[in-house]
Amino acid sequence: MFFQTLLHVLLSSDLWAASLQFGALLLLPALGGVISERSGVVNIAMEGMMLTGAYAGVVIALSAHNALIGVLGAMVAGGLMALIHAIVSINFKADQIVSGIAINLAALGLTDYLSLQSGQGVPHLNNNLRLNNVSLGPISHIPFLGPVLFQQNIVFYVAILILIGIQFLLFNTNVGLRIRAVGEHPQAADTAGVNVRLVRYCCVVGSGLLSGLAGAYLSQGISGNFVTNMTAGAGFIALAAMIFGKYTPWGTAGACLVFGLGEALSPRLQSTGVSPNLLSILPYLLTLIALVGLVGRTIPPAADGIPYEPGTE
């Protein structure tokens, strides 16, 4: 009975569409984490940057009456939070984990404070201010693949492009080489004429832009409004996906898909009578097992988390 339902669910396009939707939500901040950590700045603040983006997206879309400006505002808001992280951890050489925790706290407090201070919370978005699903012409009618791949939210397609872009950027361009050099051996990169701080600044702020975009995807796209702490740990799961994916874009994308699948699977298996709470454990348990059994040791970039000081070796 259970396996029959499982098989049925696994073959439904609905499940895979939902998995990809959740997966893309995790992918954006996780990719942000990849570029930030590849440049040598530990970033555990994707959660906070996403939340800031989610709030800013809704509020700015409402006041500008334009969904796209809302998205840009969300990205800028996420980028600003990231800029604070960059200043504190690059210029002040503060501990990057502490700074990340502080960003998360500040984002939670600030978004909730502002939404309460402005009166009755944040109103729901009308359809024209939301990010809607887009059907990609005739290919969206392909059975199974159509609904799964080609009737997704617009941000999904953007996320896929960003995934390919970051993979290319990191491993096929000079800029990517510099980013990785700065993350592995900043002294050597500095000697070779790379501006270590500038590279790190750009990468951290970039992670904020991507996390902000994910926030807008969540608030303007998926749910259509802003509620307190609506990211509910998604940024931390993205962090786990990044480490699970061994700091590579493709690996991270695979990990995001696993988490997305788990998230999508549990409500769809409720009819089997198995407690939804137990089913929700599955993706996390699988990740743990995978970490222990399959993936093995994850090696972060050598200079990850260590502020750069010119002249030290």
Partner: protein
Amino acid sequence: MAASSAPRRGSEQRPVALRFTAWMRRLGSALARPLFALLLAIVAGGIVIIITTPGSPGDRLNAVFAAYASLVQGSIGDPQSLSFTLVRVGPLILTGLSVALAFRAGLFNIGAEGQLAVGATTAGIIAFKMPFLPSIILIPFMLIASMIAGAIWGGIVGLLKAWRGAHEVVTTIMLNWIAFYFTDYLIDGPFKAPNEADQTPPLPPKATIPTLVQFYNQTFGGFLPKIANPLSYPADMTIFLALLALVVYWFITTRTTLGYEIRVIGQNQKAAKYAGIPIKRNIVLVMAISGAFSGLAGAIHLMGQFPYQLIATTFSIDPTGFDAIGVALLGRTTAIGVLISAFLFGGLRQGGTFMQINANIPGDLVYIIQALVLFSIAAEFLPSIQRAWARWSGRSRRPALVPAIMGATVVPLPEKGLADNGQNGQTGQSAEQGADATLISGEEE
């Protein structure tokens, strides 16, 4: 132990006045940064209020004063508020110690929340399964079981780290969610109260721990005046357990070989390896003890606080495990520091709810203040990070975190350093111990 007694003899020879001023200077430098951070955060919080409050500049300034007045009033303003604050302080001390111990070993335990959840749920299950036990056995049994459950939950993290190199941040995040969903399953499944949703029945009364006022009224009420309205003072006797845990933590970290080894591992794993310190065993041990502290935090809240029952989904939104990170960092992973910062964070949280009701300023301002405290603490550690770096750069992989938290405490005083010179092998150890003694010098000297 000649090495460690040497500095003490040295300090006895100095005149009392000199020792006193040296002590004051150390106290001052220990307090200056946290106090400065707090001041900065309060000013910045005020600016947030000024920006976001409507009305004239005078109105805005008044709003700031009203907000902070009600924040203080609501946290420590009267015995009742203080009692409510204490309710938050107990679990914060325990989870703060949990995070702090892991920090000392260079491990980042963000799993305090999950360890707390399994601890609380285990204590509850013991009470529901063995209600026949007398109170005197049942209560200690519940407390110990919660610690064991937390220790297992934390120990798994240590095992995965030690033997598979699994990053503890990832495994604790995974284990947190597993703990939340699994405890929700137990609370909403096998142990669900009949006719209720999402919660267990209350614990039997003999499995609960009395509040301070109840205890006072029962014990001394016969011959001393009783306190009226005992229900308005919810702080319970478990606060003493938290204080006891502080002493245990202080003892482990400053008076045992384990504490010393933890610190070496946290600061320089290679040095620890060459010194023959069993790194893997200690990582597992640290995470288990760390988990035990958090597990106990869950149990004391369940057993000491109305409604004495487990409710589904509460653990995943409970901020205690998260605040604990701030408590550990602000307290610089020392016992006394954790005590003070647990009071600060607990008071801020409690005062924040009061502020929301009385001054009409959203209580979330407290998060912003906490975040700013962390920022300024983190950025203020610049000199100690640099010092630590000069010493370990190139030799250690991730030296920043722990030395940053430890700050000035790891730097031995010059005379102690001199006294230790030549005592090869023992030098590091006694210098560390000497440095630690400076921290608790308030009690010792």
